[in-house]
Amino acid sequence: MLTILALASIVLLGIVPQQSEAIVIYTGWERHALVGSDIRLSCSFFSWRWTSEDVTFSWSYRPDGARDSISIFHYTGGAPYVDNKGPFRDRLEFVGNPARRDGSILLKNLDYGDNGTFTCDAKNPPDIVGRASSVRLLVFEKVPIQAGVITGAIIGAVLGLLVLIVVIYYLMRFLVARRVFNLSVSKHGRKGKGKEGSQQRQASPLDVGSLTTTQRQQLTATAHKHRTTQVIDGHLTPPPP
């Protein structure tokens, strides 16, 4: 029984690592930049093994329209080696952290001739089987509006407007209902006899300060029309008996 279990686990362990020894490299898909600016091209990888000391990163560049690519950066044996002869001499800097699996480079002072495809290849011995990943660089005079920004803005604006209209509608309804309620309370109070009526009217003075100026004017106008309230010191109070 135990031998069968041991044999089965050995067989399974033998199968699984075959598949998991591929290294997966991540870079961006496309990068936009302005002429004269700097850009950081990021490259990172995933590997089932611990990061070894012999990890290597290498970047190569293929200009737009060309068929060959040239190597512009290589990191090996713990030291980075930047381009000192090619199109990026004195413009390339290594800003990555190999211990954290980051092999990013910084390109400075971009020009239109830097349009092209940058390929990052990382190896983590013994994990060396993997596909290199490419990022396209596009250099613009003026960065165009990103796809989807205007779409999102229009949708957000229309939905926001909708919510605003609904909120205002319910607010107006609530305020009108409150005014109608207050006036109907004072009207019923006047119909009642003597002290009960005046006690009801003095129940709660309406605070005018919380309303806007137009609402205040409307309220005082209707209040004066009905002659049930007066404005004293900014508060609507029932007239003294």
């Binding site: 165009p144 509006i145 990103q146 796809a147 989807g148 920004v149 205007i150 779409t151 999102g152 803005a153 229009i154 949708i155 229309v158 939905l159």
Partner: protein, 134 residues
């Protein structure tokens, strides 16, 4: 995929979100141009779908809360707005679409947008005429 295209020609199909080029053995797609008008059309189409869904939700709400003999005005507003958005989107696409060369035709999705607009409008008007029965 000719069915979801807004314009088709012999090798290039364009829809609302991607421009795709079929070249020997491959299908290369890139995100539709960053121009303002295509993003406006995208936004209007998405908004019209949202408003149609909202009108359906409000119809179900009003079905249970409306008084007998009442009309579905709230639902009708949303449905008519949805039809207006589809109309605006289709008009903007017609006017601003750049490929007016020989051999370039409008695809099925574009025709569907124009068909959807009057159907949506008619549905909204029917909501106005409709009255709730007991």
């Amino acid at each position: 995929m000719k069915s979801k295209a807004w314009t088709v020609s012999s090798s290039i199909t364009t829809d609302l979100w991607y421009n795709c080029l079929t070249s020997g053995g491959g299908y290369h797609c890139k995100v539709a141009s960053n121009e303002d008008w295509i993003q406006a059309v995208q936004a209007l189409m998405v908004l019209s779908v949202l408003f149609c869904l909202l009108s359906l939700v409000f119809f179900l709400c009003q079905l249970f809360t409306l008084v007998k003999g009442g009309r579905f005005f709230f639902t009708a507003i949303f449905q008519i707005l949805a039809s207006l958005f589809v109309m605006c989107g289709a008009i903007i696409y017609t006017v601003m679409s750049p490929d007016r060369a020989v051999g370039v035709e409008f695809g099925y999705a574009y025709i569907l947008a124009w068909v959807a607009f009057p159907l949506c409008l008619v549905s909204g008007l029917i909501y106005i005429i409709l009255r709730k029965r007991e």
